[in-house]
């Protein structure tokens, strides 16, 4: 019991330390790094959203960049040309659009399984890509600018202005904390357990009485909506959206982040995003053909670290530093029981 509390305490202390460091960052680091870090956190949000269906739901989706980009386009289309859009209306609308897209695409894609599901999500993601690429709805293949970032203003007085880098950074951080809290709650809820049960043994979960399709559809739409949160922020940060934001290479890159961070935790993909984006930054700075290196590194990671970077620790030091609490207890009890039988 004591050991479990100690583990929990460690987790809380570590989370707190990370949060304090993230809050202190803009006061210590140059603006470039703050913006870079904000970008990484946004991608981390997208990766965590995706992991709800991939890690916890066992569904490999290749269309999350489309939800991400769709929210960005909603912001761009709702932004007045020379004025700031209202955060309070555009943010919920953007997120709801992505969730609705998730609902529609999910309802079709979830009629299929496994490899079909991957292909169908990929195809529908590309459909949205081509929609923005080929039609004149929002600038076609050239994309569209967001000249002024959104704000919260009440009766003409500006309360929150995302045009200021530090305000933007803290808004991203607040959204991140919100997304982590929401995902943690969902994963630990009865719904989250049912989702995981459907992943591990669909047939059994159904025969127990769980409506699998509905569970997965809700998770898919929720995940799409959260991807929309990230997409909205990304569009606001760059002040520009283009079809490439919705392309499936983006979806696949986010999947790599998920795998690097590990599939079984809420915040793992955030770590994965920081690692991959940091890596890309280093490669870009030093290599002309950095994508070649990235491709090889991705292949290396998938081959050698199927459970993400947390595997590195036991590979170097021999044993795992944190045996999962439940498994450890079970192990011990099993041993006791076997001793009794003998």
């Amino acid at each position: 019991m004591f050991e479990m509390n100690a583990t929990r305490l460690r987790v809380w202390l570590f989370t707190l330390a990370c949060l304090i460091a993230a809050i202190a960052l803009p006061f210590l680091a140059p603006t470039y790094y703050v913006q870079f870090f904000a970008k990484a956190l946004i991608m981390g949000m997208l990766a965590m959203a995706l992991n709800l269906v991939v890690g916890h739901g066992g569904l490999v989706s290749l269309c999350h960049a489309a939800f991400f980009g769709l929210a960005g386009y909603v912001l761009a289309l709702l932004s007045p040309r020379y004025d700031a859009a209202s955060l309070l209306t555009t943010f919920p609308l953007a997120v709801l659009s992505s969730a609705a897209a998730g609902l529609v695409i999910g309802a079709l894609a979830l009629r299929t399984r496994g490899i079909y599901f991957i292909m169908v999500t990929l195809a529908f993601g590309e459909m949205l890509f081509f929609f923005f690429h080929d039609t004149k709805v929002a600038g076609g293949s050239d994309g569209i600018f967001i000249n002024v970032r959104p704000e919260i203003a009440v009766a003409g007085r500006q309360l929150l202005d995302l045009d200021k880098p530090i305000t933007f950074y803290f808004f991203v951080l607040a959204c991140l904390v919100g997304v982590v809290a929401l995902l943690t709650m969902v994963v630990r809820s009865p719904f989250g357990h049912a989702l995981a049960a459907a992943r591990d043994n669909e047939r059994r979960a159904r025969s127990l009485g769980f409506p699998i399709f509905r569970i997965r559809l809700i998770a898919f739409a929720l995940s799409g909506g959260l991807a929309g949160v990230a997409g909205y922020l990304a569009a606001a940060q760059f002040g520009f959206v283009a079809p490439q934001m919705l392309g499936w290479h983006q979806s696949a890159t986010v999947l790599v982040m998920v795998l690097i961070g590990g599939l079984r935790s809420v915040t793992g993909p955030l770590v994965g995003a920081l690692v991959l984006i940091g890596l890309e930054e280093v490669l870009k700075a030093h290599l002309d053909n950095w994508k070649l290196a990235e491709g090889l590194i991705i292949i290396g990671i998938v081959v050698m670290l199927p459970n993400g970077i947390r595997q590195i620790w036991p590979m170097i030091f021999g044993s795992s530093p944190e045996v999962p609490v439940d498994a450890g207890r079970a192990e011990a009890e099993h041993a006791v029981a076997e001793a009794r039988h003998a």
Binding site: S189, H193, A194
Partner: protein
């Protein structure tokens, strides 16, 4: 006569040209164990899949109590009170025994898909899970990860999960398959206890166990029912003797 928990009428299932189940009618009563026996390929597994909803019948209907469940998907049948254990053990291998059973209880709780609050907060669910684990004889093992259980214990877990869904009828598909003598004894005693307040339908090859457990028997051959009734009636039924002579010699 006891209340009827499950009634199937004139069920038909064809796979292409082959009629795997034809014109099968069966009543399962509360407080009874009803066994379905027959040689391999008689259609027993197809019948159980039709009843649980994993296959849909080409014709006929299924009533659970007074509810017509013929068009219900498996999950809806489960929520209506039909529990099923599989021939090949299907549990959640990576979860603990307790989590396996708690999930089953959750599926039948008032808010099975609640998205807020941890799973620990539903005390009613926990109580039912603990009861089911106790009734299935796994009390001391609730924190063990399911794939570390012995084969017999996994069958017990399977039954505990079904119990936790609080079913009115339980379908058991060859619960004794691949089990040693002493393990089988425990499971037989467990199965015998299941009929209190519920109906049980069992498909099983072990004839000694069947005649020990069953209150009523239905014998199938080539997709159809050739006899149904009390064990002693079935034992002496000429069609049954004829069907089994080629395969097993005598029935009992």
């Amino acid at each position: 006569m006891h209340e009827i928990a499950l009634r199937a009428e004139c069920l038909q299932k064809r796979f292409g040209g082959l009629a795997a189940v034809r014109d099968v009618s069966i009543d399962v009563h509360v407080g009874e164990i009803h066994a379905v026996i027959g040689p391999n390929g008689a259609g027993k597994s197809t019948l159980i899949n039709l009843l649980s909803g994993e296959l849909f019948a080409n014709a006929g209907e299924i009533l659970l109590g007074a509810t017509n469940i013929t068009a219900f998907a498996p999950d809806r049948r489960a929520r209506a009170g039909l529990g099923r254990a599989y021939q090949k053990t299907t549990i959640f291998p990576k979860f603990s025994v307790h989590e396996n059973v708690r999930l089953a209880a959750q599926a039948r709780s008032s808010a099975p898909l609640r998205m807020f609050g941890g799973v620990q907060s539903d005390t009613e669910c926990h109580r039912r899970a603990a009861d089911a684990i106790g009734n299935a004889g796994l009390s001391g093992r609730s924190q063990v990860i399911a794939d570390r259980l012995s084969h017999g214990e996994q069958r017990q877990l399977e039954i505990a999960m079904v119990l936790a869904t609080d079913p009115r009828i339980i379908l058991l598909d060859e619960p004794l398959a691949g089990m040693g003598q002493s393990e089988a004894r425990e499971i037989i005693a467990l199965i015998a206890s299941l009929k209190i307040g519920r109906a049980v339908l069992i498909v099983e090859h072990d004839m000694d166990a069947v005649f020990e457990l069953a209150d009523r028997l239905t014998v199938m051959q080539d997709g159809g029912v050739i006899a149904t009734g009390l064990p002693q009636e079935v034992r002496t039924h000429p069609a049954v003797r004829a069907a089994y002579l080629g395969n097993y010699g005598d029935v009992a």
